[in-house]
Symmetry: C2
Subunit: 440 residues, 2 copies
């Protein structure tokens, strides 16, 4: 495509006549064929760090191991014991989340595995204060703010828990709808939330939204908010979004037992070898520690100590995250520039511009996402599977595409966004022309 | 007690007259009071390595981290991916167990957590080839060779799975009883096995026993043998017991799908930070990898690479285990010498003399274990809770006590065995005198 002059329109596709659209489609198709001929092999769907970003944490692995093996109270972390984790690890993450050590259980390296564990145990063993295990209650439901995180939805799908879509806005889920379901239907047992820099939009729940969660009076005695705070320290701009501490909000309502909070260092240190954190009320922690004592003799405490000794404290962790922010920000800026330059005038889609997190959410015209992703794939650009941000993989409007800029290089990102723009345009023009044909 | 002359009998207590027993009881009681007055604080119940033993693996943590991050096929183990583990880790443990890479899923650091996971998933999601999840089949059963590992039994108890005791012998469980249950009762879904250096006896299943397992034709379509090979490389004498590879035995019968094998490096490297291994037939691996893909993006692969690069190969791992053997053997010898010197003549109990593993199993006279453990506790020696090696914590004969020599020093071990011997003698004499009184 380089060196080729493409006379693309500078007019919104929605305002075009069909004749103009047909002409523009031809232009875009020529461009697409040229882009396809380049034989690209690009991948825009992996929400994971690249090697350079991972290198930012290698000093953590360079520590003298003898400095890691004893906790401040003298426990040898190489051995069994300290089921809920090393005290200093619990303290570090409690400090970070605005909680107390007593609110924390340190997990393995995967917060997703902790969530799976909490769901399957609730199914079989029940939750604190619940009268029966979830599985003994017939059909049960989870609320799913959409678009959301595919892996959340796969967990509830695995256990036959019916999922109900709840629309997201820049301030969080539609809380009136959440309240109606949670307060009137005892079969609603949970809701999946990514409250800060949400996956995929990068939205942060407003204080009013968090407060509305805290104020819920569930019809079920075993309802839980799955508060996946995966991107809590993942702001990459000067302005970091503010997230109200849900446990603080809950205090007013005595509703702390309703919240399971999760986080991990998968995108702080190593995606495959970080530490995961579970936070909850003392009632829940006590109940779940009892269950945990049957399951294991404890998670990897050496790795907990590696993290603690490397970060030292919350300020150390935040300082580390600024290195990551400085590395990630240009990737987001490049992606956003590519979108603006490619799609700014056609006005066939909108996208988020987050202050943090790992994704940009793109909404095209309804009915175009699958076609666009297919066109991208044929031109050597792998996009996140359309519908994957929705329960059962079904985007009811077929318009949402998740963009993940962390893994590709900026050169790959810019090229991917060029090709993506062409594919969006073709899909939109085909749809608009087809629609008008059907109408006429 | 030191410097005090104790004129204890050299005659079997069973052959004594009651007058002799009363005299001997007075001698032992005097000794006991003296031992109690020492104010000991000893612990014989922790089946875990001590700090010196853990130090034997510290070189593993001293490796240059940049040597650990790429697998031979170029995967960056710091990142997501390779759900079933790094190839070289799967290969190392496959080689060790006489299997293929395709038989292996690498777990986190706890094989117990893997077992728990397999049981809870079988309960909710079912197993490969099974028509229904276990929980949808009413009352189900597990066979439990006894005495056995308390934490196995706690898992099945947690899920309301009824447990049936099966007697152990030096060649393994009573296989005729196992066969009768497994082949005639479809509610029997599993059996807990520690086939080599069993917990607590240190017995190793004979080739005939392993063959009899392989030949089982379960009445249930979802029966699984939980083959916890926790001590497979844990021989500490010149003679290492031979364990037939159960998967080899199964080939003849086409019964490979019946076996879930587990092991870990908890007692190879670090009890709290090793790696766990799951081995099974390709059918099971495929089925379970699918389930695992919902649960997590993978376990800690850096730690897998730490282990692989440190051991290099099976011979390297076995060489490492010889260091552990040389460290553990004197502890067992000291414990056994203490038992022989303390209890050799009274003939009120028997104990195992294993070639490997972590425990010695002691059987006293029926009806004496609880009393003995209480006497020990009052004299400052903490013993494994009596009954803990049996389902529901109930030793039907109240005679078994598990001895764990790995954690205390040899000085502590010898002193503990002195006190234990006194307590055994008092409990036996009280019982014999009480029994005769009741009879007369």
């Amino acid at each position: 495509m380089y060196g080729m002059i493409v006379m693309s329109s500078t007019k919104s596709y929605l305002e075009m006549t069909n004749a103009e659209r047909r002409a523009e489609l031809k232009v875009q198709q020529r461009l697409y064929e040229a882009q396809k001929a380049e034989g690209n092999n690009l991948d825009m769907c992996r929400g994971k760090p690249d090697a350079t970003q991972l290198n930012l944490s290698m000093d953590m692995l360079q520590q003298n191991p003898y400095d890691l093996i004893y906790t401040r109270k003298g426990t040898d972390v190489r051995n069994y014991g300290e089921l809920a984790g090393a005290d200093e690890a619990k303290e570090l993450f409690a400090d970070l989340l605005g909680l107390k050590m007593e609110n924390i259980i340190m997990g393995g390296q995967s917060s997703l595995a902790l969530m799976y564990d909490m769901v399957i145990k609730a199914c079989v063993l029940g939750v604190y204060g619940g009268s029966k295990p979830w599985l003994q209650q017939g059909t049960i439901h989870f609320l799913c703010p959409v678009p959301g995180y595919d892996r959340h939805f796969r967990i509830t799908e695995e256990f036959g828990i019916d999922m109900i879509n709840v629309p997201m806005s820049p301030t969080g889920p539609d809380m009136e709808m959440v309240r109606q379901y949670v307060e009137n239907d005892p079969s609603v047992k949970g809701i999946w939330c990514v409250p800060k820099y949400s996956n995929p939009q990068g939205y942060t729940y407003s204080p009013e939204t968090v407060e509305a969660f805290a104020a819920l009076k569930p019809a079920a005695d075993d309802f839980r908010i799955f508060w996946d705070n995966a991107y809590y320290v993942h702001g990459f701009r000067e302005t970091d979004d503010y997230l109200l501490n849900i446990f603080d909000a809950c205090k007013k309502y005595g509703s702390e037992d309703m919240v399971y909070e999760f986080m991990s260092t998968s995108k702080v240190t190593f995606a495959g070898a970080g530490v995961a954190v579970f936070a909850a009320s003392p009632h829940n922690i006590q109940f779940l520690t009892q269950q945990l004592s049957v399951q294991t003799l404890g998670y990897d405490k050496i790795n907990q100590m590696r993290h603690v000794k490397y970060f030292k404290n919350v300020e150390g962790l935040r300082k580390h995250m600024r290195k990551q922010a400085n590395y990630l920000r240009p990737k987001f800026d490049c992606l956003l520039a590519g979108l603006q330059s490619g799609l700014g005038t056609a006005k066939i889609g909108s996208w988020t511009n987050p202050n943090g997190g790992y994704f940009v959410s793109y909404d095209g015209l309804p009915g175009t996402a699958r076609r666009c992703v297919q066109l991208c794939a044929d031109a050597g650009v792998k996009m996140t599977s359309p519908g994957s941000c929705f329960p059962y993989g079904i985007d009811p409007e077929d318009k949402n595409i998740r963009l993940a800029p962390s893994y590709p290089s900026t050169a790959e990102l810019y090229k991917s966004m060029n090709i993506f723009s062409t594919c969006q345009k073709i899909a939109a023009l085909e749809m608009l022309l087809g629609q008008d044909k059907a109408e006429s």
